[in-house]
């Protein structure tokens, strides 16, 4: 809400600087976002008087003027295109060097052969009024030579009024807050309606509220014989400073009242309201019928729905109640009689209508926060008063009012001791009462109503007798104060939060609970240590993403986590198609990171993310945690003493092995994965540690590198893992191994197997038949070539044997090796001799 200080001063005396005032309001809960100098961009604009106005010798449409600034200097000659000027008028003069709103620079310039020493300004050029056609004619007593800003400059506070304080969406409401902050009285606006002697309002106007649940009060007034035209300059200036575009004197009057009192008012052309059976112009307040149409003031045709509240007449629709008027009943130059509508509508209905039509207005944003009934009467009177002052005419006697009785202050009981317990303060009850009085809340020492603790899910209240409860009498405009905690907030904010003490909590601690982040943190630290960079990508991705990154066989979840898969989950109101579906895999997001960085010229990209996949079965959604990583470029970067070594599948598996070890999960078992379209059919593995780790790891299929536009000829390694504890687990302590004091014995075995035999199956065989003394099996070489057959390979393993309690004897080891060798034919293997 934009608040011109000059307007605020009408209702409260202000002795603070604007910065001090801004801070005081902020500390009271009315946050001032900006303090704007209104007129700061009128530098070098001063007040002058026209001495002569002559026709330009070479251009009919231009005038040649001379202007004095009253400083005794040579008159300035200035060329001007406006036609409303005459000698003796005082006008704003932009001197050479001036910069006007919109960063428009004024320089000395030649116009059709005549030098112009500046510019005479229109109200629009200065953003002071809406008039762009004529020069702004200033009052005749305006002092010559004085900067315009000294006369018409202002300070505008931009106040962020929170949604619960609709009452403060007005100059008067904010004046009440200033008054509370500075302990000054509030001056109420002088609302005085001089009614004429013609037929009374109720003889001219009837209202038929057919849906009283949505319109709790309707106050109407009638002004006849108005002359519609521009508002006085000072009104236009004030509206513009407050951010409201001037329209016409009648419309400006309603906008002025909305800003001043916070009461949205609608005015319409009385001639457009059809008469009812009794001959009176009749306003009907009703819900729309399905498919009904209305052209609103912004000249958009709207299709209405049955729950929208309308202002209508017996024939058709006049406007959308509380949101926007209709074009057909708009006040225009031809209007002579004006109907003023000042009503209270159901906040929810107004909000829904505005949302459904994407038509939020200044009016709807006030209605949806709730309106006090009293304002319907005050707003109608105030608008009538201003219409008559600015547009002339005669106010019909009396007002039409569907609910003249106005509710009084509400009674909210509170316990001073409870307030102190909540705030951590020790304020006496008299002090609490005094603080409340500053915001207009009166109090009675005894409570005659229960203390309401909460209104939802159902009312919870306690009897008032105990604890010396006090009754707060809440002003009608403070609809936000309904329970004891609301009173606590008033006391705290009026007193100032700086006076709430600061103590370290010393109450009982909750039971120990392990952090669900423990495993994730270990994974992050491990991978960062292994040279990978952590990334965070969006969970919302494009449909193409979801369609492209599909696994025929999902990586199974571990540790009882939800399994991946199901149908994709979509957003019904996405910001863009690129972010319209929740992803099911991390791989695609990681490849986007790879692609972006390669395009930026970063050659080596090793990234990981811990994130979720999302899916649903029917209406039941689920989320599952995954770790993904992608590698491209150099695993070991080139250095002056070493060539680069590129990432390959073994690096990716090495990362898996490292993680499994660091998490204490054991060693992954790898098996070939040949049938996932995203992956290279010959360079992809599934990794498993039953119940603890699942993964797919491999080279991206060259087709995907192509279709996903990665623009690299290098191999791209990707992996996606499920890990025990990634969701919320903690790691069990490792069991320490018994490190024998007796030396281990190593035996190397060169085993020839067919090329198609996976190393993992040979290793599994070695482990299975190696006996109790076998400590470790390690593949240390693979050989192909002479003298082996072309479809053979030689796997060289180093076996370590040992026992915790003795040095092994040769026969023991020989027996173990013999057992292994005896099993080799099971994998088509033989010992190479």
């Amino acid at each position: 809400m934009r608040v011109p200080l000059s307007w605020l001063r009408e209702f409260v005396d202000i002795e603070l600087t604007s910065e001090e005032l801004a801070e005081r309001l902020t500390l009271l809960g009315m946050e001032v976002k900006h303090v704007e100098r209104w007129g700061a961009d009128w530098e070098q604009v001063v007040i002058g008087e026209l001495l002569t106005v002559e026709r330009h010798p070479r251009a009919d449409r231009l005038s040649l003027t001379t202007v004095t600034l009253g400083d005794g200097g040579e008159p300035l000659s200035i060329v001007c295109g406006a036609t409303n000027i005459a000698p003796g008028q005082r006008i704003p003069v932009a001197l050479p060097g001036a910069v006007l709103p919109g960063n428009r620079r004024i320089e000395r310039a030649e116009k059709m052969g005549v030098v112009s020493n500046g510019m005479l300004c229109s109200g629009e050029e200065l953003r002071l009024t809406a008039d762009a056609d004529g020069i702004l004619i200033l009052p005749a007593d305006s002092p010559l030579g004085v900067p315009l800003a000294d006369l018409f400059g202002d300070v505008v506070l931009d106040v962020d009024v929170k949604p619960n304080r609709g009452d403060a969406l007005s100059i008067l409401g904010l004046a009440r807050e200033v008054a509370a902050a500075t302990r000054r009285p509030v001056r109420q606006p002088e609302i005085a309606v001089e009614e004429g002697s013609g037929p009374p309002t109720e003889a001219r106007l009837a209202v038929d509220v057919r849906d009283p649940d949505l319109c709790t009060r309707f106050v109407g007034r009638w002004v006849s014989g108005v002359t519609v035209g521009p508002s006085p300059d000072h009104v236009q200036m004030r509206l513009l400073a407050a951010g409201q575009r001037p329209v016409s004197n009648v419309v400006d009057a309603s906008n002025y009242v909305m800003l001043e009192l916070g009461k949205p008012i609608h005015t319409f052309d009385a001639a457009a309201v059809h008469a009812g059976a009794d001959g009176r112009a009749t306003v009907v307040v009703r819900r729309a019928t399905d498919g009904e149409r209305l052209e609103t003031l912004d000249h958009v045709e709207r299709v209405l729905a049955p729950d929208m509240l309308l202002i209508a007449d017996p024939v058709g629709v006049l406007g959308l109640a509380g949101v926007m008027g209709g074009a057909t009943s708009e006040v225009s130059q031809a209007t002579t009689d004006v109907v003023i509508e000042s009503a209270v509508f159901d906040p929810v209905s107004i909000r829904r209508t505005a949302q459904r039509l994407s038509l939020r207005s200044e009016a709807s944003s006030r209605f949806e926060k709730g309106q006090e009934a009293r304002l319907a009467r005050l707003g109608a009177d105030r608008t009538a008063q201003l219409v008559r002052a600015w547009a002339g005419g005669e106010i019909a006697p009396g007002r039409l009012d569907t609910a003249p009785s106005e509710p009084g202050r509400s009674r909210v009981a509170f316990r001073p001791a409870r307030i102190n317990r909540l705030l951590g303060t020790s304020l006496g009850s008299d002090e609490q009462r005094e603080l409340l009085s500053r915001v207009g809340i009166e109090t009675e020492a005894a409570a005659d109503v229960p203390v309401v603790v909460a209104l939802q899910p159902e009312v919870l209240s306690v009897a008032p007798e105990a604890d010396g409860a006090i009754t707060a009498l809440v002003p009608t405009w403070r609809r936000d104060i309904a329970i004891e905690a609301d009173v606590a907030e008033e006391i705290a904010r009026v007193r100032g939060y700086e006076l709430v003490p600061s103590v370290t909590p010393d109450t009982e601690m909750p039971d120990y609970r392990p952090s669900p982040l423990g495993v994730r943190e270990l994974v992050r630290d491990t991978l960062a240590g292994a040279g990978l960079t952590e990334v965070v990508t969006t969970a919302l991705v494009s449909p193409r993403h979801v369609e492209t990154f599909v696994l025929r066989r999902e990586v199974p979840s571990v540790g009882g986590e939800p399994e991946p898969g199901g149908d994709p989950v979509g957003v019904t109101n996405p910001l863009s198609r690129d972010h319209s579906l929740l992803r099911r895999h991390l791989v695609g997001s990681l490849l986007d990171v790879v692609g972006t960085n390669l395009r930026h010229g970063t050659e080596d990209v090793a990234v990981f993310e811990i994130g979720k996949g999302y899916g649903r079965t029917g209406d039941v959604p689920r989320e599952w945690w995954r770790l993904g990583f992608a590698l491209v470029g150099a695993a070991e970067p080139r250095a002056w003493n070493r060539p680069a070594r590129r990432y390959d599948l073994d690096d990716a598996k090495g990362i898996l092995d490292l993680l499994a070890h660091r998490l204490g999960l054991g060693r992954p078992v790898y098996e070939a994965e040949t049938a996932e379209p995203l992956f290279h059919p010959g360079r992809t593995a599934r990794a498993t540690i039953t119940g603890r780790l699942g993964a797919i790891v491999g080279e991206l299929h060259p087709d995907v590198v192509e279709t996903w536009d990665l623009r690299t000829s290098q191999r791209v390694l990707v992996a996606e893992l499920s890990l025990e504890g990634l969701a919320a687990g903690r790691l069990a302590p490792e069991h320490a191994p018994v490190v024998g004091r007796f030396p281990a014995v190593e035996r190397d075995l060169a085993i020839v197997v067919p090329e198609r035999t996976p190393a993992a199956s040979v290793e599994a065989l070695l482990v299975a038949h190696g006996g109790a003394l076998l400590r470790d099996v390690r593949l240390f070489d693979i050989y192909r070539g002479v003298p082996l057959a072309t479809d053979e390979k030689n796997l060289a393993y180093r076996l370590r044997f040992g026992a915790p309690d003795r040095t092994l004897t040769e026969p023991e080891i020989d027996a173990a090796v013999a057992a292994v060798l005896g099993a080799l034919p099971a994998v088509g293997g033989r010992l190479r001799t």
Binding site: E23, L27, G29, E31, K33, V35, P163, N164, P347, V348, L422, L423, G424, V453, A454, L455, Q456, P457, L460, V462, I483, D486, A488, A492, R493, P501, S502, V503, T504, T507, E508, M509, P510, R513, S515, P516, L517, R524, A528, G531, T533, V535, V536, A539, L540, V569, T572, N573, L582, T596, T602, D604, A606, V607, K612, P621, E623, A639, R642, A728
Partner: protein, 346 residues
């Protein structure tokens, strides 16, 4: 050969050997000398072979002298060896010298994302005050995300959270971590000290200061006497941990439907120290989080009696904290994942 002759021979041997040791050009010459003089077939042994011709009473005298000679030669050899060995080692070390100013062999450097890392640091600070971490789902229902937090349907405060709705009736992407308050209250009884970090979503066009996906950390403490003074004390500690021990802070009124009273928590501008600069909108202060006393309605939806228990909640944007700590001006950098940016973090 008589005693005198033998003694002279021994003395001559000593003189020659000691001299040769001192003059030896390298340790190999010393090795040869040692073998030649003291070895089993060496000069000393050769001389002592003549001992048998001496009278018995002279033999011990010769033995004593021979021992002296042996000791003297050994000492000379040792001395010469240590001299020569030092020089040889020095010569070898000299040939092994490297240009030690070349860069080290590069080891791939990884790094942790500043947002996740900042969230971790936030959790660490609150862990010191007994706050334990909980997590809730990112796909939430309207009831938990809004209604149980005292935000009924069609409430104007809903404008504070532009929401992304899902194609399943009643489900949405959580707009804040606050629904975690309800979930924790359903899971635990007071005393509660909970911290809820996580990803949140809003219908928000992305620019330098807005993101449609971002991270928050929520805090909740509920007990019989937990007051706003406790909240203030805790947040002061937090601000000091994250922004320095002397960073002034302030509470000012705020508005959230799920807290009453509500506050905004400010720190003195980290750019201008209160001198009022563009970074703090010329107020001298920067808001780092919102907080307040848990609304009685929220406690009731959490199954906690608001007459017996009370507490506070707070919520902060992790990006906001990270921006201030790392002097990042544009939120978009965090999810663009440009390694030239991310690589600068630990």
């Amino acid at each position: 050969m008589d005693l005198a002759q033998l003694t002279r021979n021994l003395e001559a041997l000593r003189a020659r050997a000691v001299g040769a040791a001192a003059a030896a050009p390298d340790t190999a010459a010393l090795d040869a000398l040692e073998v030649g003089v003291l070895g089993k077939k060496g000069d000393l042994t050769a001389i002592l072979r003549g001992i048998g011709a001496l009278p018995a009473e002279d033999r011990p005298k010769v033995g004593a002298i021979a021992n002296e000679v042996r000791t003297a030669v050994e000492a000379a050899l040792h001395e010469a060896r240590s001299g020569l060995g030092g020089a040889e080692l020095a010569a070898r070390l000299a040939t092994e010298a490297l240009d030690v100013t070349t860069p080290g062999r590069p080891i791939r450097r990884g790094s942790l994302h500043p947002i996740i890392e900042t969230a971790r640091e936030i959790a660490e600070v609150f862990a010191q005050f007994g706050f334990v971490v909980y997590e809730g789902p990112e796909i939430e229902d309207d009831r938990t995300n809004f209604q149980m937090l005292n935000i009924p349907p069609d409430h104007p405060a809903r404008d504070l959270w532009d929401t992304l709705y899902l194609d399943v009736e009643g489900l949405l992407l959580r707009t804040h971590t606050s629904p975690g308050q309800i979930r924790v209250m359903h899971e635990e009884r007071p005393p509660i000290r909970a911290l809820l970090p996580g990803r949140c979503f809003r219908y928000e066009a992305v620019d330098a200061s807005h993101a449609s996906e971002f991270f928050q950390v929520e805090g909740l403490m509920v007990d019989e006497g937990t007051s706003m003074a406790d909240l203030k004390g805790l947040l002061d500690q937090f601000a000091h941990a994250m922004f320095g021990a002397h960073r002034p802070t302030r509470f000012r009124p705020g508005y959230y439907p799920f807290t009453e009273p509500s506050v905004a928590f400010d720190i003195l501008c980290v750019i201008c120290d209160g001198e009022k600069c563009p970074a703090c909108s010329r107020t001298g202060w920067m808001t780092i989080l919102g907080a307040g006393m848990v609304h009685p309605v929220v406690l009731r939806y959490g199954g906690i009696d608001p007459e017996r228990y009370q507490g506070f909640a707070f919520g902060m944007g992790v990006e906001r904290i990270a921006n201030l700590r790392h002097q990042v001006a544009d939120l978009r950098l965090y999810m663009e994942d440009d390694l030239r940016f991310l690589g600068a973090f630990r």
